[in-house]
């Protein structure tokens, strides 16, 4: 009954005109970003962070979350029509979606992508409503050592699941934590690493780092090689899937939703891995696995459901534990912190409007995306034709003005430029920027938790293993680290054995 009342309250917040408008803007921009290849939701959220400073905390998070899950909807459009994933999470949709378009079935492919995203979104939101409050009750009991363990586990998972080198991901996470130490020390207030610049006394803010690494860095990488985009020239008809399509898609949608929902909760998993797993699962249990990759509708329905369910369930650890499971959520957390709101177990109690408003706004957003997206597909196809020579200068200008308006300081623009160069070089050298930003956001909280635990235990490191939860988190982290080292150790052992006479 309490949950029911909370949901009603949440809808009263999310359906308020200003929040509804924020949700609409977020979904619209998210779809646009999803459609445009080369610019992901992370870059878009980074670019729009400064705009949210003038909004209420609820409206800003509703809008930024809308961008994230809206991008999952938009990403499938380019995968199906251009064979270029607008989003990393839509890579799998290219396999069968584009083949369906080539067979003259672009309409049903786009239609089932939108419907499966909607159904998965609905299932995911019900899951969030049921699970998030339970986690909150559990999380209130956590202490400083438990939090330290939880943050370390979160960072370990993010680096463990890095798509490139794990050691490089660890190095980037450490750099992020180091950047987080700039400014006043959280315990005794001593200034650190300010080098005499007043500007650095309060630390580096998240927007110049995020906009530099993701906005400027991403566009610079794209500038190296401007790929021509050829939009599929088929006439779009019959966007609504027929009965046969529905029969084939319902179970994959259900499986994809459940898979995406549960995997999305874990830090570092994000929305990409569930799409691949969903595709692999559907292919494995299909009676006609040979049809996958040739334009089978199950290959679109399952992964599209998985990416949307996962993108929404990632909000659970952020809202209930205060731990962002991926870089998008880290940016949302940063936006909340800028408004003086600390996400975590007390959020539901102290700011129920944010907690329940954001959760219910996702349902409103999903309805908007379904209603808006299908009729607007011809418009998105036109957007795909916007020339690079207008798009990229526009993004640069938006980054610069956006960052300047935060503090009216050109120094922020310079800092953003420096991180833009860093982001570009990191991509070139195989370093992922996501662990850096995630660690930067978590850094202050982790340092505080570690130091408080040590002061409380009078320097006894055993406190981290004496408490069951902290011990559990640290053990899981250790197992993950060892399991990532194991394959290379086994390989080396085999090589030594093979080399021995």
């Amino acid at each position: 009954m309490e949950i029911f009342n909370n949901v009603i309250y949440g809808f009263s917040v999310s359906l308020a005109p200003s929040n509804l408008l924020a949700c609409f803007m977020g979904c619209l921009m998210g779809t646009l970003i999803g459609v445009l290849p080369g610019l992901g939701p992370v870059a878009a959220i980074s670019l729009l962070l400064p705009i949210t400073f003038k909004m209420t905390p609820v409206a800003s998070i509703v809008m930024l979350a809308g961008i994230y899950y809206g991008a999952q909807y938009g990403g499938s459009t380019t995968s199906i029509l251009v064979n270029i994933p607008g989003e990393a999470t839509s890579v799998v949709t290219c396999l069968d979606g584009y083949q369906m378009a080539r067979r003259g079935r672009a309409g049903p492919a786009l239609g089932i992508a939108a419907f499966s995203s909607f159904i998965a979104g609905t299932i995911s939101i019900i899951g969030i409503i049921l699970l998030a409050p339970v986690l909150v009750i559990w999380a209130v009991k956590l202490d400083a050592p438990d939090y330290a363990g939880l943050f370390i586990l979160g960072l370990t998972l993010v680096t463990y699941l890095a798509s490139k080198s794990k050691v490089k991901a660890v190095a980037m996470a450490i750099v992020g934590l180091l950047l987080g130490t700039i400014g006043f020390d959280p315990i005794v207030g001593t200034p650190r690493f300010d080098f005499g610049f007043m500007h650095l006394l309060n630390g580096i803010e998240l927007p110049p780092i995020a906009m530099g690494l993701f906005g400027i860095g991403e566009v610079l990488t794209n500038l190296e090689k401007l790929e021509p985009r050829e939009v599929f020239k088929a006439k779009l008809k019959n966007l609504l899937p027929n009965r046969k399509d529905w029969r084939a898609s319902l179970l994959p949608i259900g499986r994809g939703s459940i898979l995406g929902f549960f995997l999305g909760i874990f830090p570092g998993v994000g929305a990409i891995i569930p799409t691949f797993l969903s595709y692999a699962l559907e292919k494995k249990i299909s009676k006609t696995p040979e049809e996958f990759g040739k334009g089978i509708i199950q290959g679109v329905a399952g992964p599209e459901a998985a990416n949307n369910a996962a993108s929404e369930s990632t909000l659970i650890p952020l809202l209930s534990l205060g731990i962002p499971p991926n870089v998008n959520m880290a940016l949302l957390m940063g936006a909340l912190m800028i408004h003086g709101v600390m996400p975590g177990p007390l959020l539901a109690q102290e700011h129920p409007d944010i907690f329940w408003g954001v959760i219910t706004s996702m349902y409103t957003g999903n309805v908007m995306l379904l209603v808006l997206n299908l009729p607007l597909i011809p418009l998105w196809v036109r957007v795909l034709k916007v020339p690079y020579y207008l798009l990229f200068p526009g993004i640069f200008l938006f980054c610069i003005i956006g960052i300047y308006t935060v503090n009216n300081s050109y120094l922020d623009v310079v800092i953003m430029g420096i991180f833009g160069v860093a982001g570009y070089l990191m991509r070139k050298l195989g370093y992922e920027p996501a662990p850096l930003v995630l660690a930067f956001v978590l850094g202050g909280k982790l340092e505080e938790a570690v130091r408080q635990a040590l002061i409380y235990s009078r320097g006894d490191l055993g406190i981290f293993i004496q408490r069951p939860l902290s011990a559990l988190f640290l053990t899981v982290s250790l197992v993950l680290i060892l399991s990532s080292l194991l394959p290379s150790l086994m390989k080396r052992k085999k090589q030594t054995q093979a080399g021995a006479p």
């Binding site: 080198s165 050691v167 490089k168 660890v170 190095a171 450490i174 750099v175 934590l177 180091l178 130490t181 020390d185 315990i187 005794v188 001593t190 650190r192 690493f193 400027i216 566009v219 610079l220 500038l223 190296e224 090689k225 401007l226 020339p387 690079y388 020579y389 207008l390 990229f392 200068p393 526009g394 640069f396 200008l397 610069i400 003005i401 300047y404 308006t405 009216n408 050109y410 623009v413 310079v414 430029g417 833009g420 160069v421 570009y424 070139k428 050298l429 195989g430 370093y431 340092e447 570690v450 130091r451 040590l454 002061i455 009078r458 320097g459 006894d460 490191l461």
Partner: protein
């Protein structure tokens, strides 16, 4: 041997060493009472350790002689130079002029069209965004030498 890994690990080792040096200066403290330099000191140590692993991996790795794609680094360098020049001249020249010049540079860098194309598009972009930011979003923008 992978030169990029060796170079980047060198930069990370320098960063780690710098963190160690600076942390010592602001007091590391001890386990009972960790000081302001405690956290960055151990982060510096961990960064050096991670960088050493990257260095060793880079030394052991064979250089792949794969095909190299044709890429335009000139565009990247010009864009960066433009952004830094823009941030430094923004307050002196004012929003309208500095944005106009930046847009000309960026558009010319991407596409070669008739001489009037880039200035006219740049003019439209800088003027329309000026009106949007200044009057609609009420953002404070520097006036610069044009005094508006």
């Amino acid at each position: 041997m992978k030169a990029s890994d060796i170079g980047s690990s060198g930069a990370l080792i320098c960063l780690g060493a710098f963190a160690l040096w600076q942390s010592e200066k602001i007091s590391i403290g001890h386990l009972r009472m960790p000081g302001p330099g405690f956290f960055p000191f151990y982060l510096g140590l961990m960064l050096i350790a991670a960088a050493l692993i990257i260095l060793i991996q880079g030394v052991k790795q064979k250089t792949s002689a794969g095909h190299t794609e044709k890429r335009s680094y000139a565009r990247v360098v010009s864009a960066l130079a433009g952004i830094f020049a823009y941030s430094l001249t923004f307050e002196f020249l004012g929003y309208l002029l500095s944005t106009f010049f930046l847009m000309i540079l960026l558009i010319n860098m991407m596409i070669q069209k008739k001489w009037w194309f880039a200035p006219s598009i740049s003019g439209v972009i800088s003027l329309s965004t000026y009106i949007l930011f200044k009057f609609y979003l009420e953002v404070h923008l520097p006036r610069g030498i044009l005094y508006f």
